[in-house]
Assembly symmetry: C2
């Protein structure tokens, strides 16, 4: 290879690295927007702020636009750069991740719609303590999974995977309390159902954060850990790969 073509290929490779960096930056921007949507949807619910709820509902379009834009970027990189090995895994992981982030955006929008329904009804809404508690847990999972993605940090990613089980337990127990409220006071049924949908949406956000964490392990280690129970995933297994 002569010097000219070597310089040329270095140039291509620098451009390519820059494209991959930009792809990551855009994914993180989408992640940041989605985190904000979840946070504001919960704030709207807890503070009975229908104006904020409407804002969250309307902002969902921005999340959707970002998904289309980033997916386009991925397809362009696949077509033009024909990435291999870890670069290819990054692009595939980003394609999967935008889909989860978009669905988290949908869940935020559902929470906002339930906040709007609740703001029309009575003031004495049951179950908000549980919503606050689970939402904090789930938002931490989401934040950590995005940080793990940004830093290619598999330890942090595995922490998120383990957290998901705890959220599922908290969710189950909160749903049982809410069912008791309903049975005790049938006038509360409609508002308790709204709170149940919110909890279900939060539990889904936790599932999607868990998926994001799994993609981090995939992209760093080349190991597909979806559908493996966290208890089977001990550190040995990750180190071996």
């Amino acid at each position: 290879m002569d010097i000219t073509s070597d310089t040329h290929s270095q140039h291509i490779s620098r451009q390519f690295n820059q494209e991959l960096e930009e792809l990551k930056t855009h994914l993180m921007a989408m992640g940041g927007l989605v985190e904000k949507q979840v946070q504001e949807a919960i704030k709207a619910l807890l503070e009975n702020d229908s104006h904020l709820a409407e804002k969250v509902r309307d902002n969902d379009r921005q999340v959707n636009d970002l998904q289309i834009q980033i997916d386009d970027e991925c397809t362009r990189i696949l077509a033009r750069r024909q990435p291999a090995a870890s670069d290819l895994r990054l692009v595939v992981a980003v394609i999967r991740a935008t889909s989860d982030l978009e669905r988290i955006g949908d869940e935020a929008s559902k929470i906002a719609r339930n906040a709007l329904s609740l703001s029309e009804g009575s003031n004495n809404v049951k179950g908000l303590v549980e919503v606050r508690h689970i939402s904090e847990h789930v938002r931490k999972m989401l934040r950590d999974s995005l940080t793990a993605f940004a830093r290619f940090d598999t330890d942090l990613a595995m922490q998120v995977v383990h957290e998901d089980k705890l959220v599922d337990d908290e969710y189950g127990s909160a749903m049982r309390s809410l069912m008791t409220f309903m049975m005790e006071d049938s006038r509360s049924i409609s508002s308790v159902l709204n709170v149940m949908w919110v909890l279900r949406a939060l539990e889904r956000v936790g599932d999607h954060a868990n998926n994001l964490a799994e993609y981090v392990v995939y992209l760093v280690k080349g190991l597909d850990i979806r559908h493996i129970a966290p208890e089977e995933l001990d550190e040995n297994m990750l180190k071996k790969s």
Copy 2:
């Protein structure tokens, strides 16, 4: 290009086409399994067949295994064949589709778990008429979206996209009736909630079938129609692309 290398490249291209055909076949096998899971979960619920419900719940592992296997195939094709244009869109569409099919499998499994809870309770379960009705509608959407994928049939795909709106309306009206049942008889709350989770799962299956249909339009026309309201998607727009 001399004859030898021409024969060689024809050989490569024949192999590549065969790999893409196999990829489609595997996706259709996964689709078929997922269809069967939804059908049997609903049958288990309507016929109060807890044995069948357990089978569906346990079979979810097969769906998950197929997802991992097909996603692996996609990554291998991207790495080795570096597909372009419509071949690339097919591989990207399959990566997206396995994720939706896997989630439909999860929903079938949730329906099966609710069928098991219901089979432990009273015999007089409300809302099964609605479940039967919506499940038939949703199963048709799923079947059509898979057929559309197999045949690259964008007309059929667009039909599915339009159907999704109808299912959402049916779902909303069924949920309102179920809430009335709850309010009229608080002893029914627990079983009505189970039926509500089943309806929500079916509504999600409809959403995923809708996503599959959107991928067909993407892979055939190179047009990303996610997040465009069906009423904005007139035929002109599809023809122009």
